[in-house]
Symmetry: C2
Subunit: 210 residues, 2 copies
């Protein structure tokens, strides 16, 4: 196995946190997205969509999509369960993972990709109106998220799951997207502080300059 | 159980095709999105995100997100398997489901939501530049999809799966989004014609006026 990954990007970080929670170590190859190495022909042979991360398997085939890669490791190493343990829990984790992904990670990423000067080379065309349209979406999702967290320690209920991981990288990603986490969102702050104490999350935090 | 669903919308249709493939019938309640019934307070009590569909369980709790609902039914009724049968297959289905969802369903939906006059009431603000930015994304994904389908009968390989269902509704959704499926995409055309023969797909097709 070979994991193509990169520093300072939310999706690779999701897989890295997931692997540390599982206690797994996988050989990896660093692709420098700052130098647009993920847009080269050689990386296109690994992943035609040219996104990060990718997992090359021993037969030479390649799995992409962070959550597909995480789910594959969950199948190979079921403990600790990070996708839930019963039919009902698995559905709740899937629901919250997707809510966080579509409602927060994607909206924050849209603000970042369509407003940050660095992304002008990558996101063509940049649509500043789309960044602006996503700011209130981030805000309204965070209010809903805050209410949900009032009743539980983790995103999907009583246990840490892949839904928390998506939430962590999404909230971290607000920093480069230049979105402030409203101090009034007390449950989100409490949850994010708790998450920040996990060894899987502390390791390799995104640098302040990210 | 009670499934809140609606006609002529891609996500509710995903769940409906999924249930028919499983041979399942679930009591349902129709919510008229044309009348914005999904934006009412009473529906917000069912699903605070106010999206469709939602599945109310017998204990009164509610599952949302099409794929979370489908996965729940997969757990309760494993046959026929629509999320893959081995660790590797399940990862491939997840990968392709997500590729189709992010690369095609979401991009086509972005064109529709940000260009169709009907959506001006729902998608506030409409960003026509975002619709325009998504058209080439749809096109480039379809070329990649076409190449992938050259080698296999179904999206994720040898078996019909939930990834095909996402693909079906995404291609159907090109019609109201006013995007033409290039006749040169022969493998996509062959696959879509094959899918259209399945009883689960023929039933309740979206009307031409959708």
């Amino acid at each position: 196995m070979l994991l193509y990954t990169t520093a300072r990007a939310p999706n690779p970080r999701r897989v890295e946190i997931f692997l540390r929670e599982k206690g797994l170590s996988v050989p990896s190859k660093h692709v420098d997205i700052g130098k647009l190495e993920h847009r080269t022909e050689s990386y296109a042979k690994v992943n035609p969509v040219q996104q990060m991360p990718s997992l090359e398997l021993d037969d030479g085939s390649v799995l992409t999509e962070s959550i597909a890669i995480c789910r594959y490791f969950e199948e190979l190493h079921p403990e600790p369960a990070l996708f839930g343990t019963s039919a009902r829990e698995r559905a709740e984790v899937e629901m919250w993972q997707r809510r966080l992904e579509m409602g927060l990670l994607l909206t924050v990423a849209s603000v970042f990709r369509h407003s940050h000067p660095f992304m002008a080379r990558v996101e063509v065309p940049q649509v500043p109106e789309w960044a602006a349209a996503n700011r209130p979406k981030v805000e309204s999702f965070l209010h809903l998220f805050n209410e949900a967290l009032a009743e539980r320690p983790f995103v999907a209920g009583k246990a840490f799951s892949v839904a928390d991981i998506t939430g962590i990288v999404a909230v971290e990603f607000m920093w480069p997207a230049r979105i402030t986490l409203d101090p009034g969102l007390t449950h989100v702050h409490r949850w994010f502080a708790d998450m920040g104490k996990r060894p899987s999350v502390i390791e390799n935090p995104p640098p302040p300059s990210a």
